[in-house]
């Protein structure tokens, strides 16, 4: 990633998309605030408790991972470990391929997004169908999610209706109720065709081995009920010690994510279905995914692993609201992505960390008290130290400014710039900037000429 790509992207966002993202983010941020004010007697205390539950879990991750593995195995699940994204993709593909599964129903999962699972399965003859309405739209549009909770925050109803029409889901109709009805009809066929289900997990409880999957649509409930084989891809940081800890985390998650008091479906999966039961997968595979997380745990940015993916930080972020989610490299946008992308997506530390005004709004709303501005500033410092800091190099200016003859020649020569079309500007950043602006003609050196002539005349 080149430095400041976020800015370049932001300059190109269509005004209507920017306005929609801004309005939706602001509405959710307001709903979050109202929900906490209405329902939580002491929001600071609850947040402190949520933060301590997550911090404690991260500090005791080895024990908790082993305990969860032991519990899951005892309940008949298969536990796989994946050090990197490639290993995780291979495990999932092999599980399905060895069982002759050709269609899988996916529920929304940032971890599978992160490892590029859907494309990998498709390339190996296993058809993945996204079943969350937003993710389904992302899939049929060949797009990518622009928000961790609201993947199509950047699409308006007209675009969605056109996408459905192209997909053969009926003639153009942009009413949200009709779009939802058609998705229901279409995707239920996919649920029943699918032999496999893929999910992520919001949490994994060590003491019980329960995987927690949270949805409003009920798509994971349908998918897991109808599939023969369920594979859950779970980041190793998702551990919590006890079932009761979920009471704290689920209460802050729903309110922070959407302003709802509670999410419609909270599913707790402990193993394959019992013998003799008709519904539910007869095999459960849990893939514990590292892919940069253990290195992140050893780094200064470790606190970001507390994250419960509510999206509150992006909803309040002025840079996210202006640039929109697609401006960020990697899977996770906003302040969260600014910290995660250098560690999980291989982005340069400075590229995303510079896309922040360090205003602190994200830290105020984070339900697990991640010090995001401090972490972003630290990434920025790391980027400077590693020589990937953004901003123009001053080396050329320095060379000219310390050599008067070269300086004069350069000023005169620069008039040639007036003849260069904007599209041929020598740097993508400059091109993008010029695409939005008109420069005055270069008049460099004119003052010197005038001053000299004035001196001669006297």
């Amino acid at each position: 990633m080149r430095p400041l790509d976020v800015d370049v992207f932001a300059a190109r966002v269509a005004p209507a998309v920017r306005a929609a993202v801004r309005a939706s983010s602001a509405a959710t941020a307001a709903a979050r605030e109202a929900a906490f004010a209405r329902d939580v007697p002491d929001p600071a205390a609850l947040r402190d408790l949520a933060a301590r539950i997550r911090a404690h879990a991260l500090d005791h991750l080895p024990e908790l991972l082993e305990r969860a593995e032991e519990r899951l195995t005892a309940h008949g699940a298969h536990v796989h470990w994946a050090a990197d994204a490639g290993a995780a993709r291979d495990v999932v593909r092999r599980v399905f391929a060895e069982r002759g599964v050709t269609h899988v129903a996916k529920s929304k999962s940032m971890a599978t997004e992160e490892i590029g699972l859907a494309a990998h399965l498709a390339a190996h003859g296993i058809t993945p169908v996204e079943t969350d309405l937003g993710e389904f739209l992302v899939q049929i549009e060949g797009d990518r999610p622009s928000h961790v909770v609201k993947p199509v925050i950047h699409m308006d109803r007209a675009r969605i209706a056109r996408a459905f029409e192209r997909r053969g889901l009926g003639p153009y109709d942009d009413r949200p109720e009709e779009i939802t009805r058609r998705a229901r009809m279409h995707l239920r066929g996919e649920f029943l065709r699918a032999g496999g289900a893929v999910s992520g997990a919001n949490f994994l409880v060590a003491e019980s081995g329960r995987i927690v999957i949270v949805t409003n649509e009920g798509n994971s409930r349908f998918g897991l009920g109808a599939a023969r084989v369920h594979v859950a891809v779970v980041g190793i940081e998702k551990l919590v010690p006890r079932d009761r800890d979920l009471a704290v985390l689920l209460n802050v998650l729903a309110r922070s994510a959407t302003g709802q008091a509670f999410t419609s479906y909270v599913e707790l999966v402990q193993g394959p279905r019992a013998p003799g039961r008709a519904d539910g997968a007869s095999e459960l595979h849990v893939v514990l995914l590292d892919a940069g997380r253990s290195a992140l745990l050893a780094s200064e940015a470790r606190d970001v692993l507390r994250c419960i993916r509510c999206g509150a930080c992006m909803n309040v972020c002025p840079v996210y609201r202006a640039a929109t989610g697609h401006a960020y490299p990697g899977t996770y946008p906003g302040p969260l992505g600014a910290v995660l992308a250098p560690h999980l997506a291989g982005a340069s530390a400075a590229a995303t960390a510079s896309a922040s005004s360090l205003c602190g709004a994200c830290a105020d709303v984070c339900p697990v008290a991640i010090p995001l501005p401090e972490l972003i500033a630290a990434e920025r410092a790391r980027g400077v130290a590693e020589g990937t800091a953004p901003g123009p190099s001053l080396a050329a200016w320095e060379a000219l400014a310390t050599r008067p003859r070269a300086w004069r020649a350069a000023l005169r020569a620069a008039r040639l710039l007036n003849a260069v079309p904007d599209a041929l500007a020598p740097h993508p950043l400059l091109r993008a900037w010029l695409g939005e602006r008109t420069l005055p003609a270069w008049r460099g050196g004119a003052f010197r000429d005038w001053w000299r002539r004035r001196g001669d005349a006297r």
Binding site: A20, S24, A27, T28, D39, A45, L46, L49, R52, I53, A55, H56, D59, L61, H75, H80, W81, A82, A83, A87, L133, G134, K150, R157, I179, T180, A183, F191, L192, S208, E217, G218, R221, F222, G225, A226, I236, P241, D243, R244, L246, A247, V248, N251, A261, F262, S264, Y265, V266, L268, V269, Q270, A278, D279, G280, D290, A295, L297, A298, R302
Partner: protein, 206 residues
């Protein structure tokens, strides 16, 4: 093809151990009373607030079997599933007025317009119904039809979410159902009934 994951297990655990071992002053397990996680206005009022909590979550509360019949008629649904373990008089009442099946096979699930199942419990704090594989094995009958009615015994009520989670028995699949299926993916406009029921109801029996 990547290496078998036994190797990855050792690698990941070693890396995680190294990362946590060098931490000084590891955060202790927080100790907290159930009240610390309590949210909303309903838990403080105890079990009698359940109906209000369910309604606030978008779940319709049915006073008796006749209210259930009225709901199904209002929604214009004809064909449905009922758990054979439900009280015999309730099953008889439904069978007399609707096309009723006591199994909901995967391949026919699209034909079912309503499902009447049992709930293991309810939670006042969140207005949730607790469905477990032990009590509600017909998972698809509780999620696929347009109308889902969970039949709850009045004794099976937890006041706080943390109480309900503390009491969870081992079960392959438990779901907390809090209102109908919903989405706001299209321009943030709330629409009910995406993949799960558009109408979620609870019938309480003694």
């Amino acid at each position: 093809m990547s290496a078998p994951t036994a190797d990855d297990r050792a690698r990941v655990l070693a890396a995680v151990r190294a990362a946590t071992a060098r931490r000084r002053g590891r955060v202790a397990a927080p100790v907290w009373a159930p009240a610390a996680s309590a949210t909303g206005a309903f838990a403080a009022r105890g079990a009698e607030a359940l109906d209000d909590a369910l309604r606030a979550a978008g779940t319709e509360v049915l006073a008796d079997a006749l209210a259930l019949v009225a709901l199904l008629e209002r929604e214009g649904v004809r064909r449905g599933y009922a758990d054979p373990a439900l009280p015999a008089d309730l099953l008889a009442l439904l069978a007399a007025r609707f096309e009723l099946a006591t199994a909901c096979p995967r391949e026919d699930v699209a034909a079912f317009e309503f499902g009447v199942t049992r709930a293991a419990a309810a939670i006042v704090e969140t207005g949730s119904l607790v469905l477990t594989d032990a009590v509600t094995p017909a998972r698809l009958a509780a999620v696929a039809p347009w109308v889902h009615v969970a039949v709850l015994r009045r004794a099976d009520v937890y006041v706080q979410l943390s109480d309900a989670l503390d009491a969870l028995a081992d079960d392959p699949n438990v779901v907390l159902v809090t209102g109908p299926s919903r989405t706001a993916d299209v321009e943030g406009i709330l629409v009910r009934g995406v993949h799960g029921p558009g109408v979620q109801a609870c019938l309480q029996v003694p």
